[in-house]
Subunit: 251 residues, 2 copies
């Protein structure tokens, strides 16, 4: 057989056959006078085994090991390992699909540009009562960011507290008022008297459970500095004071 005949017989491409030669999976056959490879039945048998093994999901390196370790002893081991690996992959896919389904079901109108974690998306979609002021948008950005940055436990804490707050109309109204106060500081100076007012309002917005680790906050953290740099000076000052207020009150 020439390489093309072998390839169609086994159902692979000639490119694959040459690839297996390169990797040493399939021995190079004799050559004809013109340089063509001349295959025999043994090659077809080996090639068919390679194909079956790769179809099971083995990598070519593992296939080589199996073919080398003559007896099928090692094979069981490899296959068991492969099965475990496939089980892990299956689980991972199932989980991703679960998260996808949450996102797609809450798809009605996500109030944040771009997707958030499925959990947050469900929350935001559930209560679209929040205003769409600049500060509110920024807050949602921050939440979305924090949500990926925080450790798992704190994350769940955050999501559940947020769910509670969003389920409470009074809390939502209070938040919207606070957004308005902060928005008003966009052009103000840092020593504007409204800064203190806004800080007070914001601190009152945040229930004790929502941000328990405020005391441990590193005020020189690089992310925090970048956050301040992204706000108007008076707004940044208001946030700084809010954090101080919270730190004192939580002690």
């Amino acid at each position: 057989m020439r390489i093309g005949e072998l390839a169609v017989a086994v159902g692979v491409t000639t490119r694959a056959v040459r690839h297996y030669h390169q990797l040493g999976l399939l021995p190079e056959p004799e050559r004809r006078a013109n340089g063509y490879r001349e295959y025999g039945l043994r090659h077809a048998v080996v090639l068919a085994r390679i194909r079956r093994l790769t179809e099971l999901g083995l990598g070519l390196a593992e296939v080589r090991d199996v073919l080398a370790d003559e007896a099928g002893k090692d094979l069981v081991e490899v296959l068991t390992e492969l099965d475990e690996d496939l089980a892990r992959q299956e689980e991972a896919i199932r989980e991703r699909r679960g998260r996808l389904r949450i996102l797609l079901e809450a798809e009605g109108g996500l109030p944040v540009e771009g997707p958030v974690s499925p959990e947050l998306a469900a929350l935001f979609a559930g209560s679209a009562q929040l205003s769409d002021s600049p500060m509110a948008a920024k807050d949602r950005e921050i939440m979305a960011f924090l949500e990926t940055a925080m450790p798992d436990e704190a994350r769940e804490q955050l999501v559940s507290s947020l769910g509670e707050a969003l389920g409470n109309p009074e809390a939502v109204a209070q938040a919207n008022e606070t957004y308005a106060l902060l928005d008003a500081l966009a052009e103000a100076e840092p020593d504007d008297p409204r800064v203190a007012e806004a800080a007070r309002a914001l601190a009152d917005c945040i229930p004790p459970g929502l941000f328990p680790e405020v005391g441990d906050l590193d005020h020189d953290d690089s992310v925090l500095r970048a956050f301040y740099a992204d706000l108007a000076p008076a707004q940044a000052e208001a946030i700084r004071r809010t954090l101080r207020l919270l730190t004192e009150e939580r002690r």
Copy 2:
């Protein structure tokens, strides 16, 4: 923020961040005087979104599309498509694991070196009554090879017929006798009288349902030629005569 601070904040590597820059997923920030990249909060937000999207399983090209098409309109489409893709992958894995399980359960003593398709493996494992003569081994090789080479319908036909035959002790005994006859031809000349005898025995071994397409067989097929080249001359002649016998009898 510098690149390392950004990376730990979002939970990716600096290498990934630079990779996203290269692909245009994340805009390059300003540089400090020393050439260091200086990131702001906007970058962290975008990077966090990239991470969430890739964790869902989107490719970076798709992430770019989603980020570019400002509104979340296109997103739903992409996610739906992704979900379908994941469903396909999940199915593929489940099927592979199913075949793996058959192989592993029949793992007792596979009489063929290396794994065969799960179905054949189960068959061979189920009835280990077949002799281990050289010709029997070659036959199993051939079956294993054919099994990958044949179209699906013929394949199932083959497996079921084979299952029947292996379940029948008389048929197994007859096959073993025929193997012996063929083995005896290893050193014989093609005009040995035993050739005809072996051909007759082999033809009688093959039930009508097992090889229905024998009439369509291309006797100059490259695989067939390779098969003959792999046998002793008298053995090859016996097979040739068997095929002729079968072709005539089936007409």
